[in-house]
């Protein structure tokens, strides 16, 4: 069984959803970013989405845009992020590692070369945020050839018919997400979300995880009742965006991960 399948079935056996943390890689800088990810894993994250900073992030809200800009200024590069992924893999053989990137970064690095390098370093999958179903062939063959999962995205705006086509051949997992406009921390998780996720889950051969501005244990617990995994991004990245010292920032980030991790059990 591959790592992601093992991860989700292990969570299912313990009657809980998986916890997936999105981190802007290289933010606040490369060294502290790696320390933060270590902290997140120690605090209960099952999987890390390594967000490759891009200066034109069409799909992200202001928090992640600002983090990406700062990371680039601090010298974050795709080769550096890949090397970091390799080190994380060596320390954590079971943690899921997903590269979350805009296509231009992948395209510029070389699609084949990226898949080869990321797979060799122990990556599990790639999520290209601006690669809809129609353009998938640009990346899918290279992913398959290297044994990487190509993680598809479904948004609340996606029709059920289209969602079925998107998830049909999925391996790894499906990311149900509302990017853009509604990224960022939301006060409450939308009520109709549950029904939509259940429908997508029914159609999908792979687990379905939900990222929808989740920022508290209460929200995470609600989503855990109907999704295979919960993703938190903006709320986590925001922990590092204020003027406090890094140890304080890291402590509150770890607290957040811990709070989310404690609330992922499926109610009997």
């Amino acid at each position: 069984m591959n790592r992601l399948a093992e991860l989700f079935s292990s969570c299912a056996r313990s009657r809980r959803a998986a916890l997936i943390m999105y981190a802007t890689a290289g933010y606040p800088d490369m060294a502290r970013s790696e320390a933060a990810i270590e902290g997140a894993i120690a605090s209960g994250a099952d999987m890390i989405e390594l967000g490759v900073p891009f200066s034109d992030p069409m799909a992200d809200g202001p928090v992640i845009c600002a983090a990406a800009k700062a990371a680039i200024e601090q010298g974050a590069t795709l080769p550096g992020i890949l090397a970091m992924a390799g080190r994380i893999r060596q320390r954590h053989p079971k943690t899921g590692l997903i590269l979350f990137s805009y296509m231009n970064m992948i395209f510029h690095y070389g699609v084949d070369r990226l898949c080869e390098d990321f797979a060799r370093l122990g990556g599990d999958g790639i999520l290209a945020v601006d690669l809809p179903l129609e353009e998938r062939e640009e990346l899918l063959p290279s992913c398959r050839a290297r044994g990487l999962h190509l993680i598809p995205l479904v948004s609340p705006a996606t029709s059920l018919e289209r969602a079925r086509r998107i998830v049909r051949d999925t391996t790894g997992f499906v990311y149900y997400v509302s990017l853009r406009g509604t990224t960022g921390v939301r006060a409450a998780v939308a009520a109709e979300l549950e029904e939509r996720v259940r429908q997508v889950r029914q159609a999908s051969p792979a687990p379905v995880v939900v990222g929808f501005g989740i920022s508290s244990g209460v929200q995470a617990h609600r989503v855990a009742q109907y999704a295979d995994g919960v993703v938190a991004g903006s709320a986590y990245v925001r922990c590092f965006a204020d003027g406090r010292g890094f140890p304080e920032q890291l402590a509150s980030a770890n607290d957040l991960v811990g709070e989310l991790a404690e609330n992922l059990h499926v109610d009997p």
């Binding site: 891009f54 200066s55 034109d56 992030p57 069409m58 799909a59 809200g61 202001p62 845009c65 600002a66 800009k69 680039i72 590069t77 795709l78 805009y102 296509m103 231009n104 970064m105 395209f107 510029h108 690095y109 945020v129 601006d130 690669l131 809809p132 179903l133 129609e134 353009e135 995205l153 479904v154 948004s155 609340p156 705006a157 996606t158 029709s159 289209r162 998107i166 997400v177 509302s178 990017l179 853009r180 406009g181």
Partner: protein, 403 residues
């Protein structure tokens, strides 16, 4: 090429011009873009839409705009004679209104209540606000705070025309953030809003739609020139930022033996950050939802760009231009700030026409290229806009050079 390319076949159904273009967007944008593409394919073929657009072209925009012979300028040059397609005489003073009227008319037919766009220097915002006022649709323009401070007259114009100007206060507070902000607002309500892009860029169907609405420039110019002279011009030249005015005039001559020149801004020179010559110095990349020649660094980050003509400073370029360049159907050349400003002054003095600094790039290239042609040959320059807006720019430019 053994066989002439069939330019009617691009883009394909998926929005590709060769390998360029496409729909590289987050999943949440796919649905709204598909709706626009389907609506455009349906509505743009219907007789009412065509008739209404024709009426507007004639009775509101003042089209056809003339083709003018530049007698004094041509006498100065060794070689080809220069004609101008006078988009400076299009209502509101530039070619931009051609696609804005088309886009807002499409919005009306789609039953939208509101149009939304970003603007950098404000030209697209003013043109869209003009179109929205004509149709009585709400108009919301997103603009970086930095640009708002620099472009007070255009902000005042947009407001006078009834548009809501939304200041964008995050990031660098310029065009890039304005794009993000406008897209975010659009996605909140794609049912009652149409996003109206400012050039032949962005994801499909925008490069197709804007090109089609600009094609009127090329069709008119060809007809007018044939009527004036009985011949076709040897060359057509136009400035290229995103490339909307160039695409417009190119399409009129695409199947003719007429050479097509796109002129990119070399700004202060070929050093990174000093120019915006995407076709000349760029490599294939993906920005704002489409693939094109892109000015990017060794990591794949879009580079900062500059030109004295703010309408040309964009790190990408329309996907159809990329295909025309690869096919060798059009060639792309560069003109720097100094050459553009010299052309700006020369055309003003010799012909009584003050060109936009953007269009001045094309004038400069034509003056230069004229030498390679015989005196009976003709180059038509797309004079995409008038230069009144650039008077402050020129003054600052001269002060900067101690003149």
């Amino acid at each position: 090429m053994s066989e002439p390319a069939n330019y009617r076949l691009t883009p394909d159904a998926a929005g590709f011009f060769g390998v360029y273009g496409g729909v590289h967007v987050p999943e949440c944008l796919v649905g709204p873009l598909r709706e626009v593409a389907d609506a455009y394919n349906r509505i743009s073929r219907c007789a009412d839409f065509i008739a209404e657009l024709r009426y507007i072209r004639k009775h509101f925009q003042g089209r056809p705009t003339p083709v003018s012979y530049c007698r004094r300028l041509s006498d100065r040059l060794d070689g080809a004679r220069i004609y101008l397609k006078r988009e400076d005489l299009n209502h509101s003073g530039a070619h931009k209104l051609n696609h804005c009227m088309g886009e807002v008319l499409l919005a009306k037919y789609m039953g939208k209540k509101r149009v939304i766009a970003e603007t950098g220097a404000g030209q697209h915002g003013v043109a869209l606000a003009t179109a929205a006022a004509y149709f009585g649709l709400e108009c919301e323009i997103h603009m970086g705070e930095v640009d708002i401070a620099k472009q007070a007259p255009n902000v005042a114009r947009m407001k006078l025309l009834g548009a809501k100007v939304v200041p964008v206060s995050f990031g660098l507070r310029t065009l890039k953030e304005a794009v993000d902000s406008a897209f975010t607002e659009y996605l909140k309500d794609p049912v009652s809003t149409l996003y109206c892009i400012g050039s032949v860029v962005g994801p499909h169907p925008f490069p197709l739609l804007v090109r089609d609405f600009q094609e009127v420039v090329g069709i008119e110019a060809r007809e007018q020139f044939l009527e004036m002279t009985g011949n076709l011009p040897e060359a057509v030249t136009a400035c290229v930022g995103g490339g909307s005015n160039a695409m417009g005039i190119f399409r009129g001559f695409i199947n003719d033996p007429t050479a097509l020149y796109g002129v990119e801004p070399l700004g202060k020179g070929p050093k990174t950050g000093d120019h915006a010559a995407s076709m000349t110095y760029g490599t294939p990349g993906i920005i704002h939802g489409f693939k094109c020649y892109l000015l990017q660094d060794d990591k794949g980050e879009p580079l900062p760009v500059y030109s004295c003509a703010s309408g040309l400073d964009y790190p990408g370029v329309g996907p159809e231009h990329c295909l025309l360049a690869d096919q060798g159907r059009a060639s792309y050349q560069v003109v720097n700030d100094d050459e553009a400003v010299a052309a700006f002054e020369l055309l003003s003095r010799l012909e009584g026409i003050i060109p936009a600094l953007e269009s001045s790039h094309a004038v400069a290239q034509a003056m230069h290229a004229a030498r390679r042609y015989a005196p009976e040959d003709v180059i038509i320059v797309n004079l995409s806009g008038r230069g009144d807006k650039d008077m402050d720019n020129i003054r600052q430019y001269k002060e900067g050079r101690g003149q």
